[in-house]
Symmetry: C2
Subunit: 434 residues, 2 copies
């Protein structure tokens, strides 16, 4: 006779909501590093983030019920940093450094709440905007994306039988483990999980992280997800993102100010952080322009994270630049994290082996690869290219060019202006799938 666990059963059946986001720490580590900088230097800037679905063929508003989306966003707004979480942020060592976060900043975080959102539907897509103080809207990026992606996964799984789901997850596990076994063959691999924002779901990301921990041992250096880092006793990984140069450029009063913005970001950054956190993200307005105009001291930074050129091309460009500045690339670090999967990790690693230090941030293809796992062919589980970007700062339009015109965001006229300022040198059109 099977004894039913009545308490569990009653609890499961009375869920009002199965939250996608259960903690404000369920975000990428770099958001907290950037937030401390924003809180310190730009407390009065108003910034609007907006959801941008680059996979237009997926009509999100027809896939995810609006009521569900609102319930999840509302739930995220009820979250606060808990005592345990703040104590951990205060007491943990990040990148070898204690007290990464200032006590005043943590005290301020204790009262933090995600601000209101604006949601409407246009042409089958959600128009989801987060206007407000930069110090608050910045933390919407990751939960907004994980909510959208997980609700889409849930919609794709709805109606499938218990057994079908069992097989689906079995296949996804087998598929990921095959990837892990291939990565295991790379002797000096350095890899971390960057898959929070486009994950299939939180529990699945946790499983994937466990797989990397078990399979790669010390070659797996940590996760960008702060909550999972805390729970699984892993290093929290991450530095900075495009929103910093995008906002500073938008705030600039003239073209020179726009041109200088990426370097002002680095100046701000190095006053707060050091060592392995001194990673340059060079492609907000094109890597070629960034390198051409960069001050000498940028070559002193620990490394670069090329984020939109093909990895070999992007890496070679940066290595040439280091060499032109008389630096030895073997002492420098390249972090590859743009749409990587096992093939491109292997190829990139083989290409640069011995010539530069390398680290890989594995994102969507780690935490959301269910392609071929369903019992009947479907694209509903394929990852989509959805982002949540700064669209304006203090009422002015914000722009991202990147090295790949498919990844450019912003008002078209403003994009043209930025292209005049930075030029188109070195840009490579490449379709974006994840």
């Amino acid at each position: 006779m099977i004894l039913t666990d009545l308490a569990t059963r009653a609890y499961n059946h009375n869920w009002r909501l199965d939250p996608v986001v259960r903690s404000l720490l369920d975000t990428d580590f770099y958001k907290l590093l950037m937030l401390q900088l924003i809180w310190q230097r730009y407390p009065d800037v108003q910034v609007t983030f907006e959801l941008i679905n680059r996979s237009r063929e997926v009509r999100l508003a027809e896939v995810i019920p609006e009521g569900e989306l609102r319930a999840q966003l509302d739930h995220a707004r009820t979250l606060r940093f808990t005592k345990k979480e703040l104590i951990w942020l205060a007491g943990n060592t990040f990148y070898g450094r204690t007290q990464m976060f200032q006590p005043e900043f943590l005290a301020w975080l204790a009262d933090f709440q995600l601000p209101e959102y604006e949601l409407s539907v246009r042409d089958g897509q959600y128009v989801l905007r987060f206007p407000g103080p930069w110090t608050h809207t910045t933390l919407w990026e990751i939960p907004a994306l994980s909510i959208i992606n997980e609700l889409r996964s849930r919609a794709a799984l709805r109606g499938r039988g218990r057994f079908e789901l069992d097989v689906l997850y079995a296949r996804a596990k087998a598929k990921l483990w095959d990837k892990v076994e291939r990565l295991r063959a790379i002797p000096d691999l350095v890899l971390s999980d960057f898959g929070t924002r486009r994950r299939h779901g939180f529990l699945w990301q946790a499983w994937c992280v466990q797989a990397l921990k078990e399979g790669l041992g010390s070659r797996f250096i940590g996760t960008s997800n702060v909550l999972i880092a805390m729970e699984a006793d892993l290093e929290a990984i991450g530095t900075n993102a495009h929103e910093l140069p995008m906002v500073l450029a938008a705030l600039a009063n003239d073209d020179d100010g726009v041109r200088e913005a990426p370097y002002r970001v680095l100046e701000d950054w190095r006053e707060l952080y050091a060592g392995n956190l001194l990673i340059v993200l060079p492609d907000a307005f094109g890597t070629a322009a960034f390198l051409r105009n960069a001050p000498e001291w940028v070559a002193d930074w620990t490394g670069f994270r090329p984020d939109s050129l093909p990895p070999v091309e992007g890496g070679e460009q940066i290595i040439r630049w280091w060499q032109s500045k008389g630096r030895d690339p073997r002492e420098k670090l390249l972090i590859f994290s743009d749409g990587m999967d096992v093939d491109s990790i292997e190829a990139t690693w083989r290409h640069f082996r011995g010539r530069v230090r390398m680290s890989f941030g594995w994102g969507t293809n780690l935490t959301n690869d269910f392609r071929g796992c369903a019992s009947s062919p479907t694209t509903a589980l394929d990852p989509i290219s959805v982002v949540c970007k700064v669209v304006e700062a203090n009422g002015r339009p914000a722009v991202k060019l990147s090295d790949n015109p498919s990844k450019a965001t912003g008002d078209p006229r403003e994009v043209e202006r930025y292209l005049r300022i930075f030029g188109r040198e070195g840009m490579v059109e490449k379709s974006v799938t994840v």
Copy 2:
């Protein structure tokens, strides 16, 4: 915060034993059909069954701790048919027939207990014997085999981490489901589970059966496992086995009696059973000899289960024989169940399609195929060829020849005598892996 289910945890930690066999119904259906015949006609025959490990390279006594084996065998001896089980046997319809089991037989079953066993170790192998009344020792065959096989699986999994086990089962599920998807492409497939005796474990067999149910729908006609048939509301499948002709031949007083034994079995059988239960198992002492000497009425039976010739060869031989007797093979049934897997099922089905009715009994390669599923290469999870056979009846040696000399059992001198009686015609040596 994670709320631990204390009751479950305490229960799990206090298990004295995780039983392999939890019910006397956890056996093959044909054992019960045969037992009714034995109980009715041969209540006084003494028969010894013995474990025979044909995979000699696997030294079972070095793999399975003797204490564990004894604990499981002892536990099986504590089992009785429960009221629910007896009521189900009495009330269920088997092969379209109600009251398959006589009330007196079921009343007798209510007091049934597995008899004592003899266990010792010789040259790294267990010598496991079950002497006693045939009416009792016959029911040891299946639990003895499932205990040996599941304890071997458990030994192979011992020391593996929780995560590694998760991946292993995920891979096994993905592997089985790939097989199911291939079988699904066979439009008029008729398939049943015959995998109890060599299963990886009971719960795994239950999963495999569920997979067939979900994946094949009505093409999956049932399971040989009586307990699973009852629990999952499936048809119990099975007819008879080699032990009947082997015992009757051993009891015969002269060579003529030995030669006639297989037909006496069929005469006994058809007095008790009918219809789809009239399946001939022709190969106890060689199919060619069986067909050559068979009385005319054998051609009236519903079908044959060739069990040791390659399927195409065995099937063709039987079809030729039906034709020589003026029977239309398209009205006859062939049941293929000897070491089948998807390749051989597909090939056999294609070969005979439209010429004969076919049914497949899928055994070891259904319920114990973990090859390639472990994270590191191992043979410890590969299935082995272990059987539990009649070795003597009323003190006389029992023999099986089969069509494959690798599957012959019995005292070598006695085997020679049987070969003189039946001849070697049509025998094909073929290595036995499962």
